[in-house]
């Protein structure tokens, strides 16, 4: 996936490792699935020209999401880690990843990290990172179509197109303002407990 597009999504995020982590995962997605890369590239180009056809991109997302197989992604992540062993320091405990279960866990925890980062921001950057977090959750939760749509919506928001992001999310029956409020509500709730010495909730 286009590094420059994704770099734009994590612009302003403190912490070199946080940005590297996001870029690494996109490297994995890009190497696993070239057509997703081209989808993001053309979407970003259309956004910059102001001529995005939401229906067309939603149809493309429907066509392409079926190839986002977590087993395949887990294998690709292993290959990336072999090529870039320095990343093992950024992805502790989950690499080398032999099982999709490890990838689910990694995507889940990264979504949590992105929500925490996002909700420290005000304005559009908050929404950009929340949607990026939801794209990870979508993959982890077995909803690849939603993952693709959230990724595109995140890019639209990063380009200042709230209308395009909201319209895309409506296609998967999600309200843009609603998911941002929910994710940040969850972060506030967690911090409320942490401030009172509760760092985990037993099953």
């Amino acid at each position: 996936m286009s590094q420059s597009v994704v770099e734009g999504l994590v612009e302003g995020v403190g912490g070199v490792e946080a940005r590297r982590l996001v870029l690494t995962l996109y490297d994995v997605f890009a190497s696993a699935y070239r057509e997703l890369y081209s989808l993001v590239e053309s979407f970003d180009e259309d956004l910059s020209r102001g001529v995005v056809d939401v229906d067309e991109y939603y149809r493309e997302a429907v066509v392409r999401n079926m190839y986002l197989d977590v087993y395949f992604l887990a294998g690709r992540l292993n290959e990336v880690l072999v090529r870039h062993p320095e990343l093992l320091g950024v992805l502790p405990g989950v690499a080398p990843m032999q099982s999709p279960d490890a990838l689910y866990k990694l995507l889940g925890v990264l979504a949590g990290v992105l929500f925490r980062i996002a909700c420290g921001f005000e304005g559009p950057r908050r929404g950009v990172l929340v949607l990026l977090g939801y794209s990870y959750l979508g993959l982890a939760g077995g909803r690849p179509l939603d993952a693709v749509v959230f990724t595109l919506a995140s890019i639209a928001l990063a380009r200042g197109r709230w209308d395009v992001a909201a319209e895309l999310l409506r296609r998967v029956d999600v309200d843009l303002g609603g998911v941002i409020n929910f994710a940040c509500g969850a972060v506030e709730l967690a911090k409320f407990l942490e401030d009172r010495g509760i760092g985990s909730i037993p099953e």
């Binding site: 490792e17 989950v94 689910y104 949590g112 980062i117 959750l137 939760g141 909730i201």
Partner: protein, 79 residues
């Protein structure tokens, strides 16, 4: 949770997912790579239950489709 038609454990799963991300959040934001930090991160990641992810998605979708939402309402109250 009177008035909220959702299982309490689903709400707790949502919070669990955010709580478990704290060690990695702090590590990546402060660029920490010491052994103890990495051990804590590894332990946290390993502790994730896939049900937490499902609960988070389920409740966020449910909350954005109208109706009372404990997570959002409570966050407003403590803000």
């Amino acid at each position: 949770m009177g008035g909220y038609l959702v299982d309490t454990n689903v709400v707790l799963d949502v919070v669990r997912l955010v709580l478990v991300a704290k060690p990695l959040y702090e590590a990546v934001m402060k660029d920490l790579r010491d052994a103890e930090t990495l051990r804590q991160v590894a332990s946290a990641v390993d502790g994730i239950n896939r049900r937490w992810v499902a609960s988070f998605l389920f409740l966020s979708y449910k909350c954005t489709r109208g109706g009372g939402c404990f997570v959002v309402d409570f966050a407003r109250r403590i803000a």
